[in-house]
C-alpha cells in the first residue's frame, strides 16, 4: 500500500563532468575556445623554455673542474663537444669562498662564519612566535650582536688580527649592509614620519624636504653624494671608511622610503586614538610609543618588509662605488682568464640571482605569514 520509500537511496558519486581530474582540466584549461588557445600557447611556452632551462642548469651542467676547459667547447679550447651549452657550476664551486667572503683572509674566515651562526641562532627564535622571551632576544639581536659582530669582523682587539673593510666582500657585505641598514632605517624612518606629521612647522618642513629630496633621486646619486661629497664636508684629514660611507648612504636612502610607509600607517589610525591618548594625560612620546605606533606599524608590516626587500636588492648598487658585494664579486670574477668562457657570466649571475631570490622570497613569505597572524579582524 505504501509507495513511499522507507530507506534513503545511496548517494551517487558526482558525475565525472563536475569532479575529478577530467572536470578540472575542462574547467581550468579548456573552458572555452579562447581558453583552449591560451592553454596551447602556454604549453608551447613551457615546452620551449623548460627543457632548455633543465638541460642547461642540470643535464649539461659541469659541477666540478679545475679551470675553464670543462666549460668550453673544443673550438674555444676546452673539452666539450661543439654546440654544447650548459651551466658552469664548476666556476661557482671554485669561487664559492670569494662569493661568500670576498678577499677576507682565508685563515680568518671562521669569524664571519661564527657571526653568521650567531645571527641565525638569534634570528630564528625571534621569527618564531611561539618561542618566549622576545624582549631578551631582541636586545641580543639588535644590541649585543652588532657589537659582537663588529669586534669579530673588524678585529684589532682581543688578539684578533685587524681586517680592513676593503677586504670584505661577497655575501658578507650584502648581508651586513642590509642588516645594519634595516636596523637603522626603521627607527630613523619612524622619527622622520613623526616629524612630517608634527605640528612644529620648522621640523615638519625639514622632514618633508629630506624625504622628498631623497625619494626623488636614484640611490646611485646618493651613493655618489656620500662617496664624493662627504669627504668635502669634513675637515681636512678626517676621512671615513668607504664601507661606512656606503652604510650611511643606504641607510639614509631607505629611511626616506620607510618614513613614507610609516606615515601611511600613522594616517590610517583614527583620530579617536590620538584624542583618547591625550585625554588619558599621556605625553607626546607616551602617546606615540604606547598607543599610536604599535597600531600603525602593525598596519604597515607589508610595506615595511617591501622596503627591506628593496633595500636588500639595492645593496647591489655599491658596486658602482667599487665595493664588491655578492653581485660585484661575481661580476669581477668574469674577467678571471682562468674561467672566462661563454657560459661563465650566465652561470655566475644565475647563482647570484638565486641567492638574492632566496632571501627576498623568504622575507616576503614571512611577512605574509605575520600579516595573517597579527590580523585582529579590524579590517572594514
Amino acid at each position: 500500500m505504501s509507495w513511499v520509500r522507507t530507506e534513503m537511496a545511496l548517494a551517487q558519486p558526482a558525475p565525472g563532468s563536475v569532479r575529478g581530474p577530467l572536470a578540472w582540466v575542462r574547467k581550468n584549461l579548456v573552458g572555452s575556445v579562447g581558453d583552449t588557445i591560451l592553454t596551447i600557447l602556454g604549453i608551447i611556452i613551457v615546452a620551449w623554455v623548460l627543457p632548455q632551462v633543465i638541460s642547461w642548469a642540470f643535464i649539461n651542467a659541469q659541477w666540478t673542474g679545475p679551470d675553464r676547459t670543462v666549460c668550453a667547447t673544443v673550438a674555444q679550447g676546452g673539452i666539450q663537444p661543439d654546440g654544447w651549452s650548459g651551466a658552469c657550476w664548476a666556476f661557482v664551486n671554485a669561487k664559492f669562498g670569494q662569493f661568500m667572503f670576498g678577499t677576507y683572509p682565508v685563515e680568518e674566515r671562521w669569524r664571519p662564519i661564527l657571526v653568521a651562526i650567531l645571527f641565525v641562532a638569534l634570528l630564528v627564535p625571534m621569527l618564531m612566535p611561539r618561542v618566549p622571551r622576545k624582549g631578551l632576544n631582541a636586545i641580543l639581536l639588535f644590541l649585543a650582536l652588532p657589537i659582537v659582530s663588529f669586534v669579530l669582523l673588524v678585529g684589532g682587539m682581543f688578539g684578533l688580527p685587524h681586517v680592513e673593510t676593503s677586504r670584505w666582500g661577497g655575501l658578507l657585505i650584502t648581508l651586513s649592509l642590509s642588516f645594519v641598514g634595516i636596523a637603522v632605517s626603521l627607527p630613523l624612518g619612524t622619527v622622520l614620519a613623526l616629524g612630517r606629521r608634527s605640528k612644529m612647522p620648522i621640523v615638519k618642513m625639514l622632514c618633508v624636504i629630506f624625504i622628498e629630496a631623497v625619494r626623488g633621486i636614484p640611490l646611485i646619486t646618493v651613493l655618489f653624494f656620500v662617496s664624493v661629497m662627504l669627504p668635502l664636508f669634513l675637515p681636512a684629514g678626517v676621512s671615513f671608511d668607504k664601507y661606512l660611507r656606503a652604510l650611511i648612504g643606504v641607510s639614509l636612502f631607505a629611511a626616506a622610503y620607510m618614513a613614507e610607509v610609516v606615515r601611511g600607517g600613522l594616517q590610517a589610525i583614527p583620530k579617536g586614538q590620538y584624542e583618547g591618548a591625550d585625554s588619558l594625560g599621556l605625553g607626546y612620546w607616551q602617546k606615540m610609543g604606547l598607543i599610536v605606533l604599535p597600531q600603525a606599524l602593525k598596519l604597515v608590516i607589508p610595506g615595511i618588509v617591501n622596503t627591506f626587500i628593496g633595500m636588500f636588492k639595492d645593496t647591489s648598487l655599491v658596486l658602482i662605488i667599487s665595493m664588491f658585494d655578492l653581485l660585484g664579486i661575481v661580476k669581477q670574477n668574469f674577467s678571471d682568464a682562468n674561467w672566462a668562457t661563454a657560459q661563465t657570466a650566465k652561470s655566475g649571475l644565475v647563482f647570484a640571482a638565486f641567492v638574492f631570490w632566496l632571501f627576498c622570497f623568504g622575507m616576503s613569505r614571512y611577512s605574509m605569514y605575520t600579516e595573517r597572524r597579527l590580523d585582529t579582524g579590524h579590517k572594514r
Binding site: G42, I217, I220, F225, V228, A353, F356
Partner: protein
C-alpha cells in the same frame, strides 16, 4: 554671569615648561640653531677643502671643453663640445631609455597582470612564476644578465642572426632598416596630422550624437581607416618618396641601417622586464579592487563580457592603478641610472665623468639631483593629469 567670571579669573597655573607652545618654540629654535651650526661648519669645510684642492666653485666649468667621447649621441656632440652639452646628451639618453622602458613595461605588465587573474590555470601559473622571479632579484643583476649573459655571447657580426624585415642581431647590437625620407615626404606628415585631427573630431561628434540620440557610430574603425589611409594616400600621391637604408653584411661588420647598441638594449630590456613584474601586481590589485557586485550588476543590465570589462571594470580599476603606477614609472626613471654599470652614457654616467674630470663635486652632484628631481616632478605632473581625468567625479 558668575560662572564666566570664575572661568576667567583662574589663569593657567601650569609652569612655562609644560606649555606646549613654549616647548614647541624652544624645540624649534634648538633645531634651527643646530641646523645652521652644522650647515655653517660644512660650508666652511667645503670652502677650505676646495681652496686646498685649487677648485673654483661655480658653474663656469660647464663652458669648458669636454674632451671625452660619448658612444650614444642623440644630438650632435664631439669631444670638442662643452661639458654642459655632454650633460645634456646624458639627460636626453636618460629620457629616451626611460620613455621606451615605461611604454614596454606597461604593456608587459598589463598582459602579465591580467594573465595572473586568468581562469586558465596554466597561464596563471606562468605569470605568477614570472612575477615572483623578477620581483625578488636586483635590477642591476637583470641588466648584467642581459648584457653579459645574453647579448655578449651572441655571434660575431659575420655570423649575425637574420631576422625578418632585413634586420640583424649580433654582439654589436640590433640592426634594422632606417627610413630615408625623400622629397615631398612632408606631405605624409601633414596627412598624418590631418588624419589625427579628423579622428579626434569624429570621436567627439560621435560621442555627442550618442549622448543626444543614443545612436552609436563605429569610431574605432573610422579612426583606423583615417590614420592609416590618409598618410598612405599622401605617400602614393607624392610619388613614393620613402625608401629604406638596409643594413648590409660585410666581412667584419654591418654597414648601413640603424644600430641599437647592446648597452641600450640590455638596459631597456632589463628595466622593462623588472618593472613589468611590479606593474603586473598593481594591475592585479586594481582589478581585484573592483567589487564583484559591479560585474554582476553590469551582467544583469545585459552587457556582454567584453563591454563589462571595457565600460565597468577597467575604468574603476584604473582609479586604483594609476597612483602606484606613477611611482613605478618614477622608479624606472631612477633605475635607469644603473646604466653607468654597463657603460650606457645616461645622465649619471656623463655627469659622473664630468665630475671626475673637473673635480666640481658639489656642482656635479647638484646638477644630477636637480635633473632627476625635475624628471620625477614632470612624470608626476603628467600622471596627475591622467589621474584627474580618470578619477571619480564627485559633486
Amino acid at each position: 554671569m558668575a560662572s564666566q567670571e570664575v572661568l576667567r579669573q583662574e589663569p593657567s597655573r601650569a609652569s612655562l615648561i609644560n606649555d606646549p607652545k613654549v616647548r614647541s618654540l624652544f624645540f624649534q629654535t634648538l633645531v634651527v640653531i643646530v641646523l645652521f651650526g652644522s650647515v655653517w661648519w660644512i660650508v666652511q669645510n667645503v670652502i677650505d677643502n676646495l681652496q686646498r684642492l685649487h677648485i673654483a666653485s661655480g658653474f663656469g666649468f660647464l663652458r669648458g671643453r669636454a674632451g671625452f667621447d660619448i658612444s650614444d649621441t642623440p644630438i650632435a656632440y664631439t669631444s670638442d663640445s662643452t661639458y654642459g652639452r655632454a650633460i645634456v646628451v646624458g639627460l636626453i639618453n636618460t629620457i629616451i631609455v626611460a620613455v621606451a622602458g615605461i611604454i614596454t613595461a606597461t604593456i608587459i605588465g598589463f598582459v602579465i597582470g591580467i594573465g595572473r587573474m586568468s581562469q586558465n590555470w596554466l597561464i596563471q601559473k606562468i605569470c605568477t612564476v614570472y612575477v615572483e622571479i623578477f620581483r625578488n632579484i636586483p635590477p642591476l643583476l637583470v641588466i648584467f644578465f642581459w648584457y653579459s649573459g645574453v647579448l655578449a655571447v651572441l655571434p660575431a657580426p659575420r655570423d649575425s642572426y637574420h631576422l625578418p624585415f632585413g634586420s640583424f642581431l649580433n654582439q654589436r647590437g640590433f640592426y634594422f632598416p632606417r627610413a630615408v625620407w625623400g622629397d615631398g615626404s612632408w606631405l605624409i606628415l601633414v596627412a598624418l596630422v590631418v588624419a589625427l585631427a579628423m579622428a579626434w573630431f569624429v570621436a567627439r561628434t560621435a560621442r555627442q550624437r550618442q549622448m543626444a540620440t543614443g545612436q552609436q557610430f563605429p569610431v574605432l574603425w573610422t579612426s583606423i581607416a583615417l590614420i592609416v589611409g590618409l598618410p598612405l594616400l599622401a605617400y602614393v600621391l607624392s610619388g613614393f618618396p620613402l625608401s629604406f637604408d638596409l643594413p648590409k653584411q660585410s666581412t667584419f661588420n654591418l654597414t648601413g641601417g640603424f644600430q641599437i647598441k647592446p648597452e641600450f638594449l640590455s638596459l631597456y630590456l632589463a628595466l622593462s622586464c623588472y618593472t613589468a613584474a611590479f606593474i603586473a601586481e598593481i594591475v592585479r590589485a586594481g582589478i581585484r579592487g573592483v567589487s564583484k557586485g559591479q560585474t554582476e550588476a553590469a551582467a544583469a543590465l545585459g552587457l556582454r563580457s567584453g563591454s563589462i570589462l571595457r565600460l565597468v571594470v577597467v575604468p574603476q580599476a584604473m582609479r586604483i592603478v594609476i597612483p602606484p603606477l606613477t611611482s613605478q614609472y618614477l622608479n624606472l626613471t631612477k633605475n635607469s641610472s644603473l646604466a653607468i654599470a654597463i657603460g650606457y652614457p645616461d645622465l649619471t654616467a656623463t655627469a659622473g665623468t664630468v665630475l671626475n674630470q673637473t673635480g666640481q663635486a658639489v656642482e656635479g652632484v647638484l646638477i644630477m639631483m636637480i635633473a632627476y628631481l625635475v624628471l620625477s616632478l614632470v612624470t608626476s605632473a603628467v600622471m596627475n593629469v591622467v589621474n584627474a581625468r580618470m578619477a571619480l567625479v564627485e559633486r
